[in-house]
Amino acid sequence: MKKHIVDLKVVSNEKLGDKHILMKLTSDAQLPEMRPGQFAEVRVDNSSTTFLRRPISIHFVDRVKNELDLLIQLVGDGTRKLATLKAGDTVNVVLPLGNGFSDPQPQQKSLLLVGGGVGVAPLLDLGSYLKSKGYQPTFLLGARSAKDLLQIAAFEKVGRVLVTTEDGSCGEKGFVTNHSVLKNEQFDKIYTCGPTPMMKAVAAFAAQNAIDCEVSLENKMACGLGACLCCVTETKEGHKCVCSDGPVFNIKDLTWQI
């Protein structure tokens, strides 16, 4: 898919709790083609401390409104600077980057999308895409506590939403891998994105039950294009770039001890 360097206009930049923002971007031209699971490299301007772009996964694309939504966790100076952008501001973005999630195989009918923390971001776009293809995706979203759950309403518009919280303040108490749906229902494919321990637990469950499983990794990146080789992960074929060979990998290609 052709990559572009584009100046996008901020439609809105909403604070979600104190650790995340939802940035809606648009363009006078039509937004480039993108696949669920791909990401954007966002340039951070007017910062004395941030030098590199910030890789942000594509949260949702509204083709009718010609809007791109980014769900961003505020982790450092760079993302905090992005949080100061206001409606009407311009942000320079390189996208779409990486390979997205792959389509289900013909025999794969029941699909589970498991997300944790800000890792839920790419799953909204993925779920919407799958729904448009006639699937009925199930979202299994985990968080520490009810207040940490992100975009639940948006997910409910797309498919069934199951929730776990560590403190039990919403949905079932525990981690996503403790959710009863994993015992009570059969899934043909699992897509997951979130903290590494969570993804490894999900991958272990998938492996034990011989379920096809794709994970979306998030490594520190520089170029985002597969040129600098900084963001590599171990695979059965050696080091591969998370930015250009991923960020989505099938667990059978990784060397995770699961």
Binding site: F51, A222, C228, H239
Partner: protein
Amino acid sequence: MADLSVKIGGLQMKNPVMTASGTFGYGEEYADFIDISQIGGIIVKGTTLAHREGNPYPRMAETPSGMLNCVGLQNKGVDYFIQNIYPRIKDIQTNMIVNVSGACVDDYVATAEKINELPNIPAIELNISCPNVKQGGMAFGTTCAGAESVVSAVRKVYKKTLIVKLSPNVTNIAEIALSAEAAGADSVSLINTLMGMAIDAERMKPVLSTVTGGLSGPCVKPVALRMVWQVAKAVKIPVVGLGGIMNATDAIEFFLAGASAIQIGTANFIDPAVTLKVVAGINEYLDRHGFSSVKEIVGALKV
């Protein structure tokens, strides 16, 4: 429209802008953004005799106006390059240059010998300054004897343009440059990365898997300019300048300091289209100042 063409040894370039090894892949990675054939030269990533997995992740740390990396020459080896990559890139209509690294003199020689056979590779850049590999690499670039040994050995087998990439992690870089020149280098390129380190204070751990890494970006530009200035005064062969060039003005500064051509590295990560903007900006500067050729400002600093 000023004349931007320059000649580095036998290497004829349509303009003096190259891409730095390890920052531009094999060129293809940037083809969506710009017509890469309009770049004066593309130095593809570090190639070694054998396949190298490179260093473990994490390999990168952001620093004030720059970044550290410790990739460690990850590449599939020269034979893989010849069989699988060369056929893909050999017809790109610009100078495709291979950066060659090794752990010992024989490795450098064997790799250079193989690349010498590739008709569409007009030059190599001998990397005697990689700070991120255990043996070889920088070791050859930090002593005159080391530089002399590897450059003269490669010179014997390599018939085309031989550029030697120098390490800034030395007391006297002009000395090393003179040794490379005496050993038969057609040109020297500098600077490679400065050896640096980043620490995560909260976790009390180094940020990089190898503890130390190579520093690049605008933060090193003052050091790079100084070294280009020192080397250009010392040697007769053309100097290729690099180190933190982000725009045309930075490039002009390197020409004035004595560089006949420049390389753009880290800037490609922030703006994948920066190379051709720099080419255009150099031309604009030359026109505005009434120069008919970029050659007129090489070493033209008024001191």
